[in-house]
Amino acid sequence: MTLEICIHENHFVLHPSGAVFWKEKDMLLISDVHLGKVSHFRRHGIALPQYAFTGNFDRLSAVADFFNASIICFLGDLFHSKLNQEWDVFADWVNARNENFLLIIGNHDILKPEKYASVGMAIASELKVGKFLFTHEPEDRDGYFTFCGHIHPGINLRGLGRQSMDLPCFFQSRNQMILPAFGEFTGKWIMDPVEGDLVYAIAGSEVVCVTMMPKRL
């Protein structure tokens, strides 16, 4: 199930969907949903299953219901590319919910600002709350702890008997937490941890703190 961690005396709950809930501010953080990606591919002649995108909405609803936050903040790459039918589904979804919405603009978010305004979603290039900075791309700024996305972090785990497994993960370094990609059909980038990094892997319906060993050279 979920895993609670503490950063600068604030409490964050890591959810196996890839979302993070900030208890003190009653805020839900979700990164890299990439809505519209499936339809974008289909429009360009790649015949993905039409209803593959419904999974994203099922998971969004599930995690939003679970925390029932007062604000949902998307850390960028909410909508994959140009407008398509998935936006309408998303607009209906947003309208049906009670939370306030904020989007930190990511490199994929190329829709016109009016589009976000039309569903009552605030947009910003970054957000600062106390000692915390929320951006799309990883950033190391003096005096801040950053929450970001963009990378789609994954971790490679190995063990005896030549076992090996790649899992999506929350990747925490000294002043930064990179969230895994929330969306279906997004893929992952395998990280290369250094000493002191903390990795919380998503293993099915669990979030697990990964045991770290020094690399054998």
Partner: protein, 232 residues
């Protein structure tokens, strides 16, 4: 070749025509079990996943599979109870078709087959030689495509084809049954060795491996770790 045979005889045996050799030993990598049917790579691929699947029914266990033309290996992080493998008659030809089908779903063979199929079907465009790919925004990995189809459209024809081709072209069920029948008529010679034998060496060093597990994700994660670079 004489030095190789000599070394092989020292640690294990060189099997006769009526013998089926099984070697087990432990190394830093884990517990190795090597079987030598001498039936060629394709049959060994099928045999390995079939046997791994059947053993995984006896107890929760995770295997890494390797094979060459002489034999195949089941590598795991705990010792296989070889006596129970022999006693339970796991080389039987009964339920072969069904077991093979199930083991195919448990390994990643079809996933690999899907790679070729999705390229031919135009799902991924890797560009012309020497030309820059223009459709970069449409790039995705065949792995990702496989998962989307598996989760949202399991009856998709391309996905079905991946399973069918693995089964019909790669696993050679007919020859598999023949070799199982032969093994049933052979004497099983199980050697518990102290160290890797010359016969086993090319197999245990093979890096292209299949995996099969009957353990839960949580059980497996508890035993594996991530590696970090030490800051110098």
């Amino acid at each position: 070749m004489e030095p190789v045979f000599k070394r092989q005889r020292k640690e294990s045996v060189v099997p006769e025509a009526n013998e089926f050799l099984i070697e087990t030993f432990k190394t830093r990598e884990g517990y190795h079990a090597i079987f030598y049917p001498f039936e060629g790579r394709f049959v060994h691929e099928a045999l390995a996943s079939l046997l791994a699947y059947r053993i995984s029914l006896l107890e929760p266990i995770t295997f890494s599979l390797a094979y060459n033309d002489y034999g195949f290996e089941l590598l795991s992080d705990k010792e296989i109870d070889m006596q129970s493998v022999i006693d339970n008659d796991l080389f039987t030809t009964r339920f072969v078709h069904q077991d093979l089908q199930t083991s195919l779903n448990a390994t990643e063979m079809a996933r690999r087959k899907f790679r070729d199929i999705s390229v031919i079907a135009g799902m991924v465009f890797s560009g012309y030689p020497g030309k820059i790919v223009k459709a970069k925004h449409l790039q995705s990995s065949t792995q990702l495509l496989f998962e989307v189809f598996r989760d949202y459209e399991p009856d998709n024809l391309l996905l079905q084809q991946a399973y069918r081709e693995t089964f019909e072209h790669q696993l050679e069920e007919g020859r598999l049954i023949q070799s199982l029948e032969r093994i049933e008529s052979q004497n099983i010679v199980w050697k518990q060795c102290q160290r890797p034998t010359p016969f086993s060496f090319p197999i245990i060093t093979d890096r292209l491996r299949e995996r099969l597990s009957s353990e839960t994700l949580a059980e497996r994660i508890a035993k594996i770790t991530a590696a970090y670079m030490k800051e110098s």
